[in-house]
Each structure stands twice: as structure tokens, then as C-alpha cells.
């Protein structure tokens, strides 16, 4: 029986040696699973075959063989686990290598769109004034002569009409608004003070179109009416606007002007954003750039909407959006705004 035991032990040693040798040669997880079944399989595994012999052995031999089988099993299982880990690591490494990308290829992002510079400028201006408590309102672009002119103290046959050549729909009655100012009247008719509104929108002038003139462009009107506002407030508000829009160190200059619906009226200049006031081509060597027209709401306009000019005071201003955008982005050609050339639009 001893011989038989020794032979069995020797076979187990040989099995272990063979199994380990084979394991060394295995290069894939699939082969590894085959090996696992072959040697450690629960039903047909070679080691299992030895276990089935145990009951046939004598009482003394059984534990010896049993222990030996367990030792071999442990040895093989541990080797298998080690090998499996090695193979997994390698396969992962290889997979990662295979999956290497050219990270410098352009991404799959959808191309971004762009906001039109006029919309962008209106938004910037609106944000500045809404922070000062103004509300953004809109009004008709096809207007009556009354709102566009008469209610604004520009009667029929007034020479101030020359300042704004008009597209007529019904001559003398209905027109394309030449300014956003008619909304001053509409807003005041619809509400009572305090009023703080800005009105962005399209306006139309019957002008030959060239590098600095458009038949359709945009304005932003501002109107503030309450019981305490003064022209100094107008100056302070516009100075603040200029600094936010064109830079912290901007200076604002008021000078006398004439608009039929404001009194006193003022033209507003900022010091030149290019030369800071020393004189250059942009500012025609004056050091100043005209950015908007403004003034205190004319008492006649207040009376027209039923506001008592001894009680209420108001300021109004109007700026050309294209003008502001041209200054801000150094654009020398007004026609670009309606040209819709993507090479231009993509820059905003």
C-alpha cells in the first residue's frame, strides 16, 4: 500500500508540475479557462479524479493523500489567479493601446451660432439701463404722423422735419417711424409717473444708402419722468452708461443742441475711445465722439399727454445702435449690419 501511496503522491507532484508548466505557456483568458476546467474542474478535473480515489484508500493513507490534493489544489488555484491577473492586466494594456486616439483631431461639437452685433449692442445697453431701474418696452414701427411728429412738437410744415426724411405709407398720415421717440408719447399716455423706460427698435429714414447712411437702422430711446429728476440726473445717468459701455475712464461732455421735443436739449459726446481725447481720425481731431442726443422733456410734450409740467419733470435720450456698435467694435461701414455676410457676423 505504501508503494501505491508513493506512486499517487508522485503522480500528484507530476500533475502539479505539468499543470504549472502549461499554465506558464497560456496566453489568453480563454485558454486559461480551459486549463481551469482541465485541472480544477469540479466534475472532470484531473485533481477531482484523484479525490475519487480517496475512499478506496486505507484509513491511514486517506488524510495524506487528501492533504496532498488540497496542497496541489491550493498551489494551482493560486497560480491560476496570479496568471489570470497577469493576463487581464496585459489584455487591458493592449486594449488601451489599441484604443489610442488622435486627440488633436477636431471635436464633434456642433458649430456655435452668433448673435447679430445689433442685438448684442441692444442687449448691452438694455442691461445697463435695467440696472438703473428702466423697463424695456416696444412699439409700432409703422406709425402715425401724430405720434412720430406732431405730439413731439413737430407740427406739419415744421422745418425740423427736414432732419428726418420720411418713408410715407399714407402721405401726411402714416409713415415708417423715423425715430423711437413716438414711444415716449405712447408710454406716457398709457401710464402715470414714475416712468423709466427704454425703447429699442427699428427706425427708417429716406436716405441714399452709403458707408455711413442706412435707410433702416436701430435706435434706443430712453425716458424718465418723475417729480424730481433734473438735467444733472440725465448727465449722471448717461455718464454712467458711457463708462459701462465704453470703459471706466470715459468722460462725458454735454453741449447745447436742438430737438423739438426736449428743452433744454443737449448733444452728448464722450472723449474719443481711440485717442483718449488727443485727436485722431476717428474723432476728426476733435478729441470727442458724438454718441447721442438728449434733453429734458419739453413742457409741450408733457402737456400733450396730460402731465402737468409744473409738477413732473423728465429726461429723454435717443441713441443710434449702429453708431454705438461702430464705435465699440471699430466698424467703419454701416452697411455691414444689414449685409448679413457670415464672415462679418461670425465675429460677434
Amino acid at each position: 500500500m505504501i508503494e501505491q501511496l508513493d506512486a499517487l503522491l508522485a503522480q500528484l507532484d507530476a500533475l502539479q508540475e505539468r499543470a504549472l508548466r502549461e499554465l506558464e505557456a497560456i496566453n489568453s483568458l480563454a485558454e486559461l479557462e480551459d486549463w481551469d476546467v482541465r485541472y480544477l474542474g469540479r466534475h472532470r478535473g484531473e485533481l477531482k479524479n484523484f479525490s475519487t480515489l480517496i475512499p478506496k484508500l486505507g484509513k491511514a493513507e486517506r488524510p495524506v493523500i487528501g492533504q496532498k490534493i488540497n496542497a496541489v489544489k491550493e498551489k494551482l488555484e493560486s497560480a491560476l489567479e496570479t496568471r489570470r491577473q497577469e493576463l487581464r492586466d496585459r489584455e487591458l494594456r493592449e486594449a488601451l493601446e489599441r484604443e489610442r486616439l488622435d486627440v488633436t483631431l477636431p471635436g464633434r461639437a456642433l458649430p456655435a451660432g452668433h448673435m447679430h452685433p445689433i442685438s448684442r449692442t441692444i442687449l448691452e445697453v438694455a442691461r445697463i439701463f435695467t440696472r438703473m431701474g428702466f423697463q424695456v418696452v416696444q412699439g409700432p414701427e409703422v406709425e402715425t404722423d401724430y405720434y412720430n411728429f406732431q405730439a413731439l412738437n413737430i407740427p406739419v410744415d415744421h422745418p425740423a422735419r427736414d432732419m428726418q426724411d420720411t418713408f410715407w405709407v399714407v402721405p401726411g398720415e402714416i409713415l415708417l417711424r423715423t425715430q423711437t421717440s413716438p414711444m415716449q408719447i405712447r408710454v406716457m399716455q398709457a401710464t402715470r409717473p414714475p416712468v423709466r423706460v427704454i425703447v429699442p427698435g427699428k427706425v427708417f429714414r429716406h436716405e441714399a444708402i452709403d458707408a455711413s447712411h442706412e435707410a433702416m437702422f436701430h435706435q434706443i430711446e430712453g425716458l424718465l419722468v418723475d417729480e424730481r429728476c433734473t438735467m444733472a440726473d440725465l448727465k449722471g445717468s448717461l455718464a454712467r452708461f458711457a463708462r459701462e459701455m465704453f470703459g471706466e475712464d470715459r468722460r462725458v461732455r454735454f453741449r447745447g443742441s436742438y430737438f423739438p421735443f426736449t428743452e433744454p436739449s443737449a448733444e452728448v459726446d464722450i472723449d474719443c475711445i481711440l485717442c483718449k481725447g488727443s485727436g485722431c481720425r476717428l474723432c476728426k481731431y476733435s478729441g470727442w465722439l458724438e454718441i447721442l442726443g438728449s434733453g429734458m422733456v419739453h413742457p409741450r410734450v408733457l402737456r400733450e399727454v396730460g402731465y402737468d409740467p409744473r409738477k413732473y419733470r423728465g429726461y429723454a435720450f435717443g441713441m443710434g445702435v449702429e453708431r454705438i456698435a461702430m464705435l465699440k467694435y471699430a466698424i467703419g461701414e454701416i452697411r455691414l449690419f444689414s449685409g448679413n455676410d457670415l464672415r462679418f457676423l461670425r465675429q460677434f
Partner: protein, 859 residues
């Protein structure tokens, strides 16, 4: 208004440099547009000289050869001007001088040597006259640099519409005097009057006293017509006028100097020596001095004599009684006309003159006498005239100087600028307002200081306190205004978020890769009709349609089936040619061009045209949007309805890209996906897309989007928002695009109305969800939306989501059928669903689909 500085200095002392003066005036509201330095570029090479000999150049019809005395020698010059003669003193440009871009050299021409050039006023920068050589005063010394004699600075003003009084040298001088605290020196017309009184020589009848508040006339006899003296001609030239003859020049000179337009008639040509000022008769005609025959209207004022019109009042005269070579007696008109009337006449006749532009801004009726006397003085002094005694002056209602009570506190009240009563007093007095202090107790309760301010008659623009505030501000200086922040109360919120919404939509569309464009709101009917595959009265209606509250009214929506079964579908009728003019649109009476004759009815034509323009230079695809208005006409005399819309256009691939998906040309579902994302971002959940017919679009690739809201009966009511689709091939080919184009136009008002007022949060169920896939085979024509809606309806509350993840046609699906595969997610809010429940629902859905669409489960 051009004001030579040398002339201005005659009335006010000027110590500032021209730039300083320009700045002072600009700040006070008299904007100096340009400073024109006359003679700055003349250099040393342009001198005074005299023609000593003149001969025609043989073989030339206009050239002369002249010998010129330069003061230090004699040279020969060839000259082509018609107006020179021996003895004339002229400006001579010597070799080396620069005239504009031209450098003068020695030239040989037709056998003569020309060693210089004689100059016209225009060549010297003295106005626009180029009709001949500039003839200098006979007293001019020879060989002197012209710049030493004639250089000057001309200030060019843009005179504002309310200040007719500033359209004169004296008017400007008055402002300069006030602003620089210098006295104003007015000319005092002095002359002898003799002979028969004017009143016996001329009769003036003013029939329309409203349009002609004053008519003053003088008679001057014995005048000699000739050229004006050099100094006067030079001033007229620099002010932008052309010297004509001494008498006409004097009237122009006085108009420029004092601002009163004058008219000189040949007294002997005024029939019966009777001036009648009356309105024209409708259809009456006369030929004005510019040789144009004018047809007149009853609202135009005429100067006539008993036999007919001789001038259009305040605008232009006629040849009938014009001053001419033989004139010896002058009837001098110095009148005042109603501004609005002059303006209306000038506009109607397209005739804007120096005279009309002054009258229409409003002139002081008190100015007529000063103007007449000043001209009479000059005619006596320069033309040897004899001024007849007296002025015939028809002035039924003399203007009275108005006065207003003004509180100096108004300045601070309106401007925030603190001023003393004394400052106000000084500022207004400097501008010739008469200021008296009024006893406060008598006039005002608060005991505040009041001033009685009498307004000079030449300041018709001053009416009330605010006007005086501006005058004070101009004098003290706008730069003195403090800058403060408005401290008044803020207005109540107005609850209209159109601006935020509009920008939200912009941002969403930009995020989806669309570029914003901005096209003209003006277009033409033809440009809009280009959008219709077939143009007829019915298809043109789509350009005018709009969402109506009562559902689909006004919208052309027909399902594909309806159209297939219809005998008179859109495409088959309207064979008669359609007249573009019959398309209702807001028409511009005075358009810039035929391309811009009306207001747009749709954003789509602008989008298509922009695609076209950009596709020429853009290899990548185009993805554009515009937010703007459509202008839908209403009844005559009414303002149109302006509807805000968003238009979208896609054409070609999203990008030039190595990624096939991005390089794929856009298709219908790209456009629809953009619209769906927009709806999702706006939290609009109740909407549907249906197949639709629209003459702009491919009949099988067009959908209408409708948004829903609960109806009265508990059902859902849908309102159309707009169409989207692939552009019809017949439309596409008119725009020459490299790829198929896709368009969409959404009515923003309708879209906003569908945005929920607030977002409702539904708690997230913690119970398990069960997923079931469902693949059904249905006929090709069955719309996917119908299947989806049926699934949702029959799945009920426990069916949380349905998502279509596969659409398949081809083997093994039979021809004419398609397979739709959905994944369904079941979940209850309050319990864990059992498999059995989910399976039962699933079976119910399958059964319903079978019943409604003949759907079978895909095996």
C-alpha cells in the same frame, strides 16, 4: 451757413483763435461743422497780376494768349476763360504753385509758351464759382501774395430749425458777443432821401395778411447796374453765393448780413407800379428765374402786379420784372411771410432757396425796415442810387414784444444747476432779453424772486420758462452741469417679459448653431412671391395668414390625404396669371427702389436671399435665424398689425467636418429637432406637428406646428404657430442654392402664450420602474405621432415615458409597411408595479394598436 471770420469781426471784437471760437459756439449749441481756412494752401506762388495784353489764339475757339504784369516783370499765359479783358487784375499761379492736386508748370501750347495759370474762384477754394477767372478789385496792388490780401477763415454752421435769427452774420455775431462778453456793433444805415415819396410811386396791396404779416417797399432810382466791388464779391463768394450784378448782390449781401431776404424788382417793369400779394389760383402757372414753368396751388403765396404773378413769395422771382442791364429804378421788397406756408410751397415745388430756408425757420417782422434801409444805403453808396423818401409799409398787426414771468429757481429745478438771480439776469441780458425784477410779494406766494423777461422780437423760439432755462444754460455753460443719479421712485413692474423672452429664444437658437441675421423690413411683392412654387390668388394668401384665436381660421392646413383626394388642391387651380400688385401689403409711397416698395409679410424671403448671398462664398452649410416683424395690412388709414416672428433657415451641412454626422447636409428632421429643442427649452409641452400643405414647401415634407391649451370642454385646443419644411424644388431653383433648403417661421406671440406661467414640480417616484420594448409593424402612411399618441392614451397614468428608438423598412418587413420600436417605461407614484400589471398594460396597448392601425407585433 458760411461765415467768413473777417466779416464777422465787423460786428464784434474777436480775441479768440478760430478754433477757440468754434469751440465756444459749438458748446453753446451753434455747432461749427467745419473751419475752412481760405488761402492756407496758396503759398507764395499765387500772386496778384494784371492783364496788359490779350489776343485770341489762332485755331482755337476759346483760348486767349495774355501778357501779364506780375509787378516785377511780364510773362505770357494761355487762358481759356471767357470773362477776362485787358486791364483786369487777376490771381496768377506761377510755376510751382499748387491748385488742388495740380502743380503749375511752364507749358507750350499751340505755339505759345504759358508760364502760369489765371485762377477761378473755385480753383482758389473761394466757393463754387467756376464760370470765369476771379477778377480782383481795380485798386489791388500788383505782385503781392494773394494770401496776404485774401486769406480768411470761414466757419460753417448747421443752423437748427428753430433759430431763423442765426441765419445771418449779425445773428451769429450777437451770440458771439453774448458768449464772449463783448459789445455788438450794428451797422447804422444812413443815406439821404430825396425826390418823390415812395408812397406816390408804388402801391402795395396785401390780400392775404395771414401769409404775409408785413410788406415793406422802398424805391431807389438812378442806379447803375455793374459788377460789385471786390470786397462785396469776395464776401459773397466765401459765404457760398455767386456774384451776379451790383443790385442783386446788394440784396444777397444784406440777406447774409442781417438775415432779411430782399427782392429787387425793376420798378418800371412792375405793371401799374402796383404790388399785390395774394394766393395763387389753383392751376395758375408762372416761370421762375431758373427757367422752370411752375404749376401753382391755392395755398401758395404770390407777389403779383395787376397783370399776373412776378414772384413766388419768399421763394423765387421771375424774369418778368427782373433787374437787368437797362434797369435804373428799383422797387425793393423787404417782407415777412408765414414760415409754414413758405415751407409748404418750397417743398411742393422742390425749390429750396437761401430765401425760403430763412423764412421757413421764422423771421422777425421787425427786421424788414432794417433790411430795406441797409440795402438802400448800399445802393446809394455803391450804385449811385437816389433813395426816395419813405417806406411803403403794410403792417396791419405789429408784433408786440412778449414777456414772461420767470423764476431763477426754475433753472435749478429743471437742471440741478445752482444759479444766482444775478447770473440769470446777466445771461439773459447778454442775449438782449429785457429783464426786470418783479416785487415778489405782488406776484408769488412763496416770496420767491421773480423776473419779468421781455423777449426780443427776433427770438420767436422762446415761449416759456424751459426755453429761458436753456438760454441761461447756454450762457453759463453746459459743462457746469453737475452729474447726479436719479433718486426718484422706481416704476411698478410692468409684467411684460417680451425682451427677456426674445433674447432667450436668441440664445437657444445660437446654442443650436444658428447665426442671427438682420434683414431689411422693406422688400417687394415680387421678392415675396418668389417663395411660392405656384403663384395664384389662393397660394398668395399664405403670406398674409396668421394664427387666430379660433383655432385654424385663416391657415391653410390640409393633410396629405385630404389633398390627394381633393380635386381642386392648391397646386391645380389658379391658372390665370397673378398680378403681384394685387398682393395686399403695407406699401411705401416713396420707396428708395422697386426692390424696397413694401413692408415684408414674411421673414422667409429675407432668409432665402441671405442663404443665396452667403452660399456663393461659403462652402460649409448655412444655419440662420432672424427675429423680426411681419407687417400685415389692416383697413385703409389703420396701422398694420405687426407680428413678431422667428424665422429659421438651414442649407447644407452643419460644418465642414471630418465627422460624417456633421458633414451630412441638413434635412427635415434637423430643422424639426431645432424646433423641438426650442419648445423644450421654453417648457412648452403641449404641441403637435402635423403633415401640412404650403405653397413654399415640398408637399410631402412640410409640417405645421400647433401649440395646445385646455379647451372649454376639457379637451385640448390647438393654435397654429407656424410651418416648417423642405423648400419646394420649384422655389429652390430660383435661389440657386447648392443644397436643399429648409425653412420655418414661428409666430412668437402665439409661442409665448403657450409658455407655462410657472413650472410645476412633480415628486420623483421612489418605486421601481419596469421597462418593456414594443415593436409594431404598421402601414407606411400611418403617422408616427398617431401611434405614439395611441400608446400614451392606452398606457394611461402608469406609463411614464414612451420613446421611439427604431424605425425600419425593408426585409423582412413587407413592402408598404414599416416597423416602429418603442421602449416603454411603467412606474407608479405610490407603489411598486408588478410584472403582471405592466404586462397587462402592454397587452392592452398592443390590442389597441391592432384595432386602430392594424398594427401587428413584429415577430
Amino acid at each position: 451757413m458760411r461765415v467768413p471770420l473777417s466779416w464777422l469781426k465787423e460786428y464784434v471784437e474777436i480775441t479768440q483763435s478760430p478754433q477757440e471760437l468754434a469751440h465756444t459756439l459749438t458748446m453753446a449749441g451753434l455747432e461749427v461743422e467745419t473751419l475752412d481756412y481760405i488761402g492756407a494752401d496758396w503759398g507764395d506762388q499765387i500772386i496778384t497780376a494784371q492783364i496788359t495784353h490779350l489776343e485770341k489764339v489762332p485755331g482755337s475757339d476759346h483760348l486767349s494768349y495774355t501778357r501779364i504784369n506780375t509787378g516785377s516783370g511780364e510773362i505770357g499765359v494761355i487762358c481759356g476763360a471767357p470773362n477776362i479783358k485787358e486791364g483786369d487784375k487777376v490771381p496768377l499761379a506761377l510755376p510751382g504753385a499748387r491748385i488742388g492736386d495740380l502743380t503749375i508748370g511752364v507749358a507750350r501750347k499751340m505755339g505759345y509758351v504759358s508760364e502760369g495759370m489765371l485762377c477761378s474762384p473755385r480753383e482758389l477754394g473761394l466757393g463754387s464759382d467756376h464760370s470765369g477767372i476771379y477778377i480782383l478789385d481795380p485798386e489791388t496792388p500788383l505782385g503781392v501774395k494773394l494770401a496776404d490780401l485774401l486769406s480768411d477763415v470761414v466757419l460753417e454752421f448747421a443752423i437748427k430749425a428753430h433759430r431763423g435769427d442765426l441765419s445771418s452774420i449779425i445773428g451769429i455775431a450777437r451770440e458771439v458777443a453774448a458768449l464772449t462778453h463783448k459789445p455788438l456793433r450794428l451797422p447804422e444805415p444812413r443815406f439821404n432821401e430825396q425826390g418823390q415819396p415812395a408812397a406816390e410811386l408804388v402801391k402795395v396791396t396785401v390780400e392775404d395778411r395771414e401769409l404775409c404779416p408785413r410788406y415793406s417797399a422802398r424805391v431807389i432810382s438812378g442806379v447803375k447796374i455793374g459788377p460789385s466791388p471786390g470786397w462785396m464779391a469776395r464776401r459773397l463768394l466765401m459765404a457760398g453765393m455767386r456774384p451776379i450784378n451790383l443790385i442783386v448782390d446788394i440784396t444777397n449781401y444784406v440777406m447774409l448780413e442781417v438775415g432779411q431776404p430782399l427782392h429787387a424788382f425793376d420798378y418800371d417793369l412792375v405793371r401799374e407800379h402796383h404790388i399785390i400779394v395774394r394766393r395763387a389760383r389753383d392751376g395758375e402757372e408762372m416761370t421762375t428765374l431758373d427757367g422752370v414753368q411752375r404749376r401753382l396751388r391755392n395755398d401758395m403765396l404770390l407777389i403779383t402786379d395787376p397783370q399776373g404773378p412776378t414772384a413766388i413769395a419768399g421763394v423765387m422771382g421771375s424774369a418778368i420784372s427782373e433787374v437787368n442791364e437797362g434797369t435804373t429804378r428799383i422797387l425793393l421788397e423787404s417782407a415777412n411771410f408765414k414760415p409754414a406756408s413758405i415751407r409748404r410751397t418750397a417743398v411742393a415745388l422742390g425749390l429750396r432757396t437761401e430765401s425760403s430756408s430763412r423764412f421757413e425757420k421764422g423771421l422777425d417782422p421787425e427786421l424788414t425796415i432794417f433790411g430795406a434801409n441797409r440795402a438802400a444805403q448800399l445802393m446809394a453808396e455803391l450804385a449811385g442810387g437816389q433813395v426816395h423818401p419813405g417806406i411803403v409799409d403794410v403792417y396791419p398787426k405789429p408784433v408786440e414784444a412778449r414777456s414772461i414771468l420767470f423764476s431763477p429757481a426754475e433753472v435749478e429745478w429743471l437742471t440741478g444747476l445752482k444759479v444766482t438771480s444775478r447770473q440769470v439776469h446777466e445771461a439773459l441780458s447778454a442775449l438782449e432779453f429785457k429783464v426786470e425784477e418783479v416785487s415778489a410779494a405782488a406776484d408769488a406766494a412763496g416770496g420767491e424772486q421773480l423776473l419779468r423777461v421781455t423777449i426780443p422780437t427776433f427770438r420767436g423760439d422762446i415761449e416759456e420758462g424751459a426755453d429761458l432755462v436753456e438760454e441761461v444754460l447756454r450762457m453759463i455753460g453746459y459743462d457746469q452741469l453737475p452729474a447726479t443719479v436719479p433718486e426718484g421712485p422706481l416704476p411698478e413692474p410692468h409684467g411684460d417679459h417680451w425682451f427677456e423672452r426674445e433674447y432667450e429664444i436668441r440664445e437657444i437658437l445660437i446654442g443650436l448653431g444658428l447665426h442671427e441675421i438682420l434683414t431689411y423690413a422693406m422688400t417687394s411683392r415680387q421678392r415675396m412671391l418668389n417663395l411660392l412654387a405656384e403663384v395664384n390668388a389662393q397660394t398668395a394668401q399664405v403670406l398674409l395668414q396668421k394664427p387666430a384665436d379660433d383655432g385654424q381660421a385663416g391657415w391653410i392646413i390640409a393633410s396629405a390625404q385630404e389633398r390627394a383626394g381633393s380635386e381642386d388642391g392648391l397646386a391645380s387651380d389658379g391658372r390665370e396669371p397673378f398680378d403681384a400688385r394685387s398682393l395686399p401689403a403695407v406699401t411705401i409711397a416713396n420707396p428708395l427702389s422697386n426692390e424696397l416698395e413694401c413692408m415684408r409679410l414674411t421673414l422667409l424671403s429675407g432668409l432665402m436671399e441671405t442663404l443665396q448671398e452667403n452660399s456663393k462664398r461659403n462652402r460649409a452649410g448655412l444655419r440662420l435665424f432672424e427675429i423680426g416683424r411681419r407687417y400685415l395690412p389692416r383697413g385703409a388709414g389703420e396701422l398694420p398689425e405687426e407680428r413678431r416672428c422667428a424665422g429659421i433657415a438651414l442649407c447644407g451641412p452643419a460644418a465642414i467636418s471630418w465627422v460624417p454626422e456633421l458633414a451630412r447636409p441638413a434635412d427635415f428632421y434637423d430643422l424639426k429637432g431645432i424646433v423641438e429643442t426650442l419648445l423644450e427649452r421654453l417648457h412648452i409641452r403641449r404641441y403637435r406637428f402635423s403633415a401640412a400643405q404650403h405653397p413654399t414647401f415640398h408637399p410631402g415634407r412640410c409640417a405645421v406646428l400647433e401649440v395646445g391649451r385646455p379647451g372649454m370642454d376639457g379637451g385640448e385646443r390647438f393654435t397654429p404657430v407656424g410651418f416648417l419644411g423642405e423648400v419646394h424644388p420649384l422655389v429652390q431653383q430660383r435661389y440657386d442654392l447648392p443644397h436643399r433648403a429648409y425653412l420655418c417661421e414661428l409666430d412668437l406671440e402665439t409661442l409665448y402664450a403657450a409658455v407655462p406661467e410657472r413650472l410645476n414640480y412633480a415628486p420623483i417616484s421612489r418605486h421601481q420602474e419596469l421597462t418593456r420594448d414594443l415593436a409594431v409593424v404598421v402601414d407606411q402612411q400611418v403617422p408616427a405621432r398617431a401611434v405614439q399618441e395611441a400608446i400614451e392614451r392606452h398606457g394611461g397614468e402608469l406609463l411614464r415615458t414612451v420613446a421611439l428608438f427604431d424605425v425600419y423598412t425593408g426585409t423582412p418587413i413587407p413592402p408598404g409597411k414599416k416597423s416602429l420600436t418603442y421602449t416603454l417605461l411603467y412606474q407608479a407614484q405610490d407603489r411598486t408595479l408588478t410584472d403582471a400589471e405592466a404586462n397587462a398594460l402592454q397587452e392592452r396597448i398592443v390590442a389597441a394598436l391592432g384595432e386602430e392601425f392594424g398594427a401587428v407585433l413584429r415577430s
